[in-house]
């Protein structure tokens, strides 16, 4: 009865277009026709526009819409309603760069579909010639879905806007066409101030673009390694960071363009450390290279107690194409165009989820990170993770392991520094992986960074009090990847970044220009909105509460990462005896059985590791492990369901809890303040935390917010329930039970 998917134009409903007759349009258009234009950002240029365009309203089952003008600029596709703008609702959480309701940054466009004669077709670059569709459906990378009807406007306008949008969103383009380069060329008003502020923020988030940052980090983790500055001008390798840290035992830096070079990630307080490296596949003939790699492993082993475990991630985890494929399947479940589709897919929800394999990939990554953690924490062994490039899954696993081990990375600034360290400075190929330039080469696209955020979200939802940041923060960060303003996600490597930024600088004497980093959140959100990034449940560390914080010098809190009684420190065995012999043996073992050399499956040993951890008392500032059993790995509801009106919980959702919590917190603060006033002698000891943090919403109104808050904020939604349709579509109870009678007498014979 109901059709699905790409052929979805045929529906039992009368065609959506018929809801509005041309006469009606005229009537609506009659009010004085004022030319409306979008508020352009500095450097934003309008390409083309068309009017009237009907934009179907998403949260309405009946395919109604609003008329307005559709624009395409060098930054976004934007729609401006003909209706007089409603009184500006004081939206608490608003992105300054683009609105969630009507703006689509070009980079955020995932797919465009055209409906031609009731048939839905995927638009690819080449297809856009003469014909234009009656309806254009845009799927965004942040899971929004837009539907525009083009039939009411003049043919040439429609053609122009459609081709314009298709061209700018789908055609392969050069990096220089990305809006960031126009945007940053324009000095924004009040540069000085914002520049100062940015500097301040920068101080908080460690950028890892200077030798000092690395020295600091090594000091913090008490690492005994060597800082390499020889790649300052990328003489060693263009795929390596500008500055990086390696084991002390490495002498030769200049062979094989840095391939196989173990890059230090993090040091455990015991002295053992985590390294990552790019290990290209080795052929038999390449004996020299093989030897080189063994020297490298040897060097890692020398870091602490002559022990090393290596793990080839490209063998044990899905590759980036698998990840891409799985995510493509997965995201389809959330790109909902109408409510019929929604309820149909609802029935098959769990098995669809499973078939995409996305949650399983998340589980595998977390599992692998736990294995790494186990080696560092329990066995005090150096770990070297490798893959061909060394900048994809290595980043995922090393970052996850660090979050589990080091509470500093669970603070907002710590997390941002971690992303800088492992991903940005660490040369993750954001530009290729995110496919910002719409390259046809599909091999290199993969949502690896998103996968990492997904894994972090799992940790956040399982251990909320351990994280200073909220899930909203993660959601916003995942969206920001597709906002073409930030230097953070625009490049493939440090070398790439530097090359482009230097070349782009119009004023060579003033040094390289910098477009903002994503961590300068003030570019997108005002300070009030930024409060949503903080988790009200975060259990702050008592010890540090009174101390004046020095954000740029975070103390390493690893001493707390394990109650010292839980594991005995390893005996200093093997340090002097037979070291060469044992090392040789170990290396051989390593080549044969990659991991731990034990026949036990990793899953079984990590299971044990998890259970022993679980039996210890909760310590949010210590080691953190995720539960990986089926029911524990979940869908990131906020990110994926926020635009689907069918699942809004009006007056409910976590926002109800958050507001209540914030209320409690602010009351506690009030009382503290009162105490402070009363008891001036003790005033010095009282917490001086910023006060605003917990005063976000007027609590009276929170009852009418929906679960999608702070996204998809719709105040004037009617307060009515969403009743599912087609409930009995599939619930086929095949056995005879269904037809049995409830009464006791008639079922007496039933056994």
């Amino acid at each position: 009865m109901l059709s699905l998917g790409s052929g979805g134009a045929k529906s039992t409903k009368p065609s959506f277009v018929s809801y509005v007759t041309p006469e009606e349009i005229k009537a609506e258009k009659d009010p004085p026709k004022k030319e409306k234009h979008p508020d352009l950002l500095p450097g934003e240029v309008e390409f083309c526009s068309a009017n009237p365009i009907l934009k179907y309203s998403q949260d309405d089952l009946s395919q109604h819409g609003v008329f307005g003008t559709l624009f395409c600029t060098n930054f976004r596709v934007t729609f401006i309603s003909d209706e007089t703008p409603q009184e500006k609702t004081a939206k608490t959480f608003k992105n300054k760069l683009y609105g969630e309701k009507n703006d689509i940054p070009l980079m955020c466009v995932d797919h465009i579909y055209g409906v031609y004669d009731e048939k839905r077709k995927l638009i690819t670059g080449g297809l856009v010639k003469n014909k234009y569709p009656s309806k254009m459906i845009i799927h965004c990378k942040d899971l929004r879905v837009f539907q525009f009807c083009l039939t009411f406007t003049k043919e040439e306008d429609a053609k122009k806007i459609f081709q314009g949008i298709a061209h700018h969103c789908l055609e392969e383009k050069s990096l220089k066409c990305v809006f960031a380069f126009s945007y940053m060329g324009t000095p924004s008003p009040g540069t000085d101030l914002s520049f100062c502020r940015e500097m301040l923020r920068k101080q908080e988030t460690i950028m890892f673009d200077s030798p000092e940052d690395w020295t600091q980090e090594m000091k913090r983790t008490k690492a005994n390694c060597r800082l390499v500055i020889e790649n300052k001008n990328f003489e060693l390798s263009q795929r390596l960071p500008k500055y990086f840290v390696i084991p002390l035992a490495i002498g030769d830096l200049f062979s094989y363009q840095g391939k196989g070079l173990p890059i230090w990630c993090w040091s455990h307080y015991s002295g053992c450390a985590l390294f990552k490296a790019s290990f290209p596949p080795v052929t038999q003939e390449d004996g020299d290279f093989q030897k080189h790699l063994e020297t490298m492993i040897n060097a890692v082993a020398h870091n602490y107690l002559y022990s090393v475990k290596t793990e080839d991630l490209s063998e044990s985890l899905p590759n980036i194409q698998d990840i891409q494929q799985s995510y493509n399947k997965f995201k389809q479940f959330f790109l909902i165009e109408n409510s019929t589709d929604f309820w149909l897919s609802d029935v098959k929800w769990f098995s669809s989820l499973e078939s995409s394999g996305w949650l399983d990939i998340i589980r595998q990554c977390l599992q692998k990170a736990v294995e790494v953690v186990e080696c560092l924490e329990k066995d005090n062994t150096n770990v070297l993770i490798t893959e061909e490039e060394g900048t994809d899954l290595c980043c995922v696993i090393s970052s996850l392991a660090q979050i589990m081990l080091d509470p500093y990375y669970r603070t907002l600034m710590g997390f941002q520094s971690l992303v800088q360290k492992e991903w940005v400075a660490g040369c993750h190929a954001f530009l290729d992986r995110c496919n910002h330039l719409h390259q046809k080469d599909k091999e290199c696209h993969s949502p690896v960074f998103l996968l990492f955020l997904e894994c972090v979200w799992q940790l956040v939802q399982q251990h909320s009090p351990a994280f200073q940041f909220s899930e909203t923060y993660l959601t916003v960060l995942s969206d920001s990847v597709h906002v073409p303003i930030f230097s953070t996600f625009l490049f493939n490597s440090a070398h790439h970044r530097e090359g482009v930024m230097k070349a782009e600088s119009p004023l060579a004497q003033s040094g390289p220009l910098s477009c903002p980093t994503v961590w300068d959140w003030s570019v997108q959100f005002d300070s009030k909105a930024q409060n949503f990034f903080y988790n009200p449940l975060y259990s702050e560390k008592v010890k540090h509460e009174k101390a004046v914080r020095k954000p740029h010098k975070p103390k390493h809190q690893r001493q707390l990462s394990l109650p010292s009684t839980a594991f005995k420190t390893p005996l200093k065995k093997g340090f002097f005896k037979d070291e060469t012999d044992s090392l040789k043996k170990m290396l051989q073992v390593k080549r044969l059985s990659r991991w731990m050399g034990s026949p036990d499956s990793p899953a079984a040993t990590t299971r044990e590791f998890y259970e022993s951890w679980q039996h210890r008392p909760v310590d949010y500032h210590g080691l953190l492990l995720p539960c990986l059993d089926g029911p524990a790995v979940r869908v990131w509801m906020q990110r994926y369901l926020r635009w689907i009106p069918e699942v809004y919980i009006l007056g409910g959702g976590s926002v109800a809890m958050t507001t209540k919590l914030m209320e409690l917190l602010s009351q506690v603060q009030d009382l503290k303040r009162v105490l402070e006033q009363r008891d001036t002698s003790q005033a010095a000891k009282i917490d001086h935390r910023p006060y605003i943090q917990h005063r976000l919403l007027s609590f009276g109104s929170s009852g009418r917010l929906s679960s999608s808050f702070p996204f998809a904020y719709t105040r004037n939604r009617s307060f009515k329930p969403i009743i599912p349709t087609g409930l009995m579509q599939r619930l086929m109870v095949t056995d005879s039970l269904a037809s049995q009678e409830d009464e006791a007498s008639s079922v007496a014979s039933f056994v």
Binding site: Q614, C627, D629, S739
Partner: protein
């Protein structure tokens, strides 16, 4: 040596068929150093055995001692650190049986299937030539007292609580809260002594325009005499929620003038709407099939202004089977790679969705449509109370408080005769009884789903719901005994047993949701998409130690509440001190802090 040998032999013996007879739970005892059995009043040790082995599916065999009392089975592990105890109220046993024949070594093994989603398995030595009954026989005797012509432990238990839970529900007071009786609805004494319908309560509210004489005729037209009576009335629109059983239409399309008049009167009692919605909880096929057995549904000819809607909820047998499958999927081990499709194949959440969707439609008609509704299924004691009570929770915030929820259960489930004895099978050995079904559990699950969606709308917390379910089976309290109000009075349950609400209301702080915000006239419309439904892991999978919840959010709330209380106390102290010291000079300074803390006090 011998120990391990015995375990091995048992293992090999039963690796064969007994799929679900495995077991265990780990409950770390509050005071493991003692590890002594805390006996309840009137609880007596009946038998105990040393050297018993537990075959735990999570941690393997453990050894310890087993004690059977007239209320519980208690196993204390002796060979492990930390010491843990396993405490199982015998009422939770659904089935207990010996597995296999005694081996040459004289070991016996038996498996216990529990109603609370776990299976336990023990092995121990059979005493040779003993005149004494074996522990297993003692267990069987006290686990199934009804089958052994003994009384349930609830009738022995004589704990005294400061609160009397039997006084929680006073029907007239509850109807009075709803503004009843009023000009349209009256109380009828026609069923005062349960002579017309033994499964209905004594107090029935019906439209004033219907006489008792007419009612008597309706009794014979509705299945089991469960006539349409009022459950709840909207305080503003006067739209009513009415419950009933199916009409005895039969194949010939029997009609009943008085029944038609009654439904018309129900509609007329609400001036806001000229329509009446009849929600038949069953799938339409099943409703039609009921005509063969004399039942059926209201025809459009006979009930002119009524619109009939089928809610497609399946019967008790389907639900029982679904829960059985769910148990297979979650206990003891979860198959990781197919977890989601396995969960889907149980249909459990799909049933939950249908029930919630049905209740949502009812609540919507009453709230948004201002229309009165009649809800029925076949007998009106399973699906009907699920739907009406869920709709009532959505519509009336009173039922979201702890006491209000107790009243709701007392009213919709207990007084209107949900057959708890039959559905749960208290103390009954016959585990294959087709009358057993997890209808009430399913309802509590639906409530839990709503508490998840509206974390600040309910006064009670998750522990409250789990406590209710645990004592649904435990037979410690009289609340869930018997099948109807009439039976409970006949058995003098309120006199001879303790109410669960006595226990709960005497330690309310355990059950309070610290996030609760009371919005008096707030209707809740949950979303019923399966995407927002979750498996209730902390109930169904609570025996799996790996699924142990992390420090629950509530813990943190409690800390905050405590912190606040502490600070508040300190402020008061300081104020007092300040007032004493400088009674005159700084009075204005003392004034401002007082003002700033007043909002706090409003919701302690």
């Amino acid at each position: 040596m011998e120990e391990s040998g015995s375990v091995d032999s048992v293992e090999s013996l039963f690796s064969v068929p007994l799929h679900c007879i495995m077991f265990f739970c780990v409950q770390v005892y509050k005071d493991p150093s003692k590890g002594e059995l805390p006996l309840l009043p009137e609880e007596l040790v009946q038998d105990s055995a040393k050297d018993v082995t537990y075959i735990c599916p999570f941690i393997g065999p453990v050894r310890g001692s087993l004690t059977v009392t007239n209320y519980r089975l208690f196993f204390r592990c002796t060979d492990r650190e930390p010491v843990f105890g396993l405490d199982l109220p015998l009422g939770a046993l659904s089935r207990a049986e010996k597995i296999g024949a005694a081996t040459s070594r004289g070991d016996v093994s038996y498996g216990l299937v529990c109603k609370d989603m776990r299976n336990l398995r023990f092995v121990h030595k059979e005493l040779e030539d003993s005149l004494k009954k074996s522990a297993f026989e003692v267990l069987m005797k006290f686990a199934f007292p009804v089958s052994n012509n003994m009384s349930l432990f609830a009738f022995e238990y004589k704990q005294v609580f400061p609160e009397n839970g039997w006084k929680v529900y006073d029907p007239l007071a509850e109807y009075k809260r709803q503004g009843l009786p009023n000009e349209s609805w009256r109380i009828s004494k026609v069923n005062d002594h349960y002579e017309l319908c033994d499964s209905y309560p004594a107090a029935l509210f019906v439209p004033v325009t219907i006489t008792d004489e007419e009612l008597r005729r309706v009794f014979s037209f509705r299945a089991k005499g469960r006539i349409p009576v009022l459950s709840w009335i909207h305080p503003e629109s006067q739209a009513a929620v009415v419950r009933a059983s199916q009409p005895m239409v039969g194949q010939n399309g029997r009609r009943c003038k008085e029944d038609e008049k009654l439904l018309q009167a129900i509609m007329d009692a609400n001036a806001q709407s000229h329509k009446l919605f009849i929600f038949d909880a069953r799938p339409s096929v099943n409703a039609a099939a009921n005509k063969m057995k004399g039942g059926g549904y209201e025809s459009e000819d006979a009930y002119q202004n009524a619109e009939l809607v089928f809610l497609d909820i399946h019967n008790i047998h389907v639900m029982r089977e679904s829960l059985r499958k769910l148990k297979e999927v979650v206990y003891p081990n979860i198959e990781e790679s197919h977890w989601l499709s396995n969960l889907e194949s149980t249909h459990w959440l799909e049933h939950i969705k249908l029930i919630l969707a049905g209740a949502l439609r009812i609540a919507d008609k009453v709230e948004s449509g201002k229309t009165s509704v009649v809800v029925h299924c076949s007998d009106g004691w399973d699906r009907t109370p699920q739907l009406t009570s869920l709709a009532l929770i959505m519509l009336d915030s009173h039922y979201r408080t702890i006491r209000g929820f107790q009243i709701l259960l007392e009213k919709e489930w207990l007084s209107f005769g949900h057959r708890f004895q039959q559905r749960v099978g208290h103390g009954d050995r016959n585990h294959t009884d087709a009358d057993r079904s997890p209808i009430f559990l399913q309802f509590i699950d639906c409530v839990w789903q709503m508490t998840r969606q509206f974390p600040a709308a309910f006064e009670f917390n998750e522990y409250f719901l789990i406590t209710i379910l645990d004592h649904l089976y435990s037979c410690l309290f009289g609340t869930f005994l018997c099948n109807s109000e009439q039976q409970r009075l006949k058995e003098e349950v309120p006199k001879r047993t303790v109410s669960l609400w006595s226990f709960v209301n005497s330690q309310l702080e355990e059950f309070v949701n610290p996030l609760y915000v009371h919005y008096p006239s707030h209707v809740l419309f949950p979303t019923v998409g399966i995407r927002h439904l979750q498996l209730w892991v902390t109930y169904y999978i609570r025996w799996n130690p790996r699924m142990r919840p992390q420090e629950p959010v509530h813990q943190r709330y409690k800390e905050l509440l405590a912190k606040r209380a502490e600070l508040q106390k300190r402020v008061e102290e300081l104020q007092r001190e300040a007032a004493n010291r400088t009674a005159s000079s700084s009075s204005e300074r003392a004034g401002s802090p007082t003002r700033s803390i007043t909002p706090v006090q409003t919701f302690v």
